[in-house]
Amino acid sequence: MPARDYIRERFFPHMWCPGCGHGIVLNGLVHAIENIGLKKNDIVMVSGIGCSSRIAGYMDFHTLHTIHGRALAFAIGVKMSRPDLTLLVPMGDGDALSIGGNHFIHACRRNIDMTAIVMNNRVYGMTGGQYSPLSGHGTMATTAPYTNIDQAFDIVSMATAAGATFVARATAYHVQQLPNILEEAIRHKGFSVVEVMTPCPTYFGRKNKEGSAVNMMDNLKTRTTPIGSKAKQENPSLIERGVFVKKELPEYCAEYQRIVEQAMKGK
């Protein structure tokens, strides 16, 4: 099994709950990396703090499990000092967009070559079910016992506006598309953002009466649609998935190399 080559088997079964979508992201990632044929020594995975961020410990790469919200900042240090390495930065929705929101938009703006994967379960899983900036108006959470009045971010629009040169959305249900999108994101030379909608049956599911993990997977099927589909025109509340942005802009490490050459020439 290809998956086995990329994981640290001794830590399995992993700590995630039954049916947690985070494991499906791990699964998709392993397939994407297998398809690209990357060598494990050339991959650095940098994660923050959260259920999602535990993914780093399970992968047999150079793994850096950092502090809440700051994974991208650490990753930039690694990438700038070793531009030849492939950087994968999985984060939770709270991790990436609440406490780490500032780092997120600035990483998008810099267009540094790495892949940010936002494992969006619309909740703070690790701390036990508080609302996140992705939960959305009208949802329930342990810290929104009456109802959540916070509006949600749209990760795709935000990443696009901030200047990411590859922006995509996938889901834990659409598992044929997931590795393909991840592969495209990793291959893209520049800052790639992939939002993966993943179920947290234990907290989001329970609090919002979404039923079992199976049910939540079903919801991902019925509530999403490919970009530009006819279904979207008929039902605007459907969430689009696919690749939204893919464009070329000067990449940050390459640009810095130009600065080095310019400085050295003037010496």
Partner: protein
């Protein structure tokens, strides 16, 4: 590409958490949860080797081994 032929469903019972995702979304209803809430291939002859179960397993607990026809 040649059609894939099933060799076996390799199930890691230690890792399977019985979430039922693979069971529910198998297009051919090949899989079932047993009395211990672990997955088993109850009707392997119906399997079309789409590998969706393998890709959807959050626990990397199921592998669909195939051979070329």
């Amino acid at each position: 590409m040649a059609k894939l032929k099933l060799r076996a469903h390799v199930i890691n019972r230690e890792w399977c958490k019985g979430c039922g995702i693979c069971v529910h979304f198998c297009p051919r209803k090949v899989l079932e949860l047993d009395e211990f809430d672990k997955v088993v291939a109850a009707r392997p002859q119906d399997c079309v080797c789409c590998k969706l179960c393998e890709l959807r397993c959050s626990d990397l607990a199921i592998e669909v081994q195939t051979e070329q026809d």
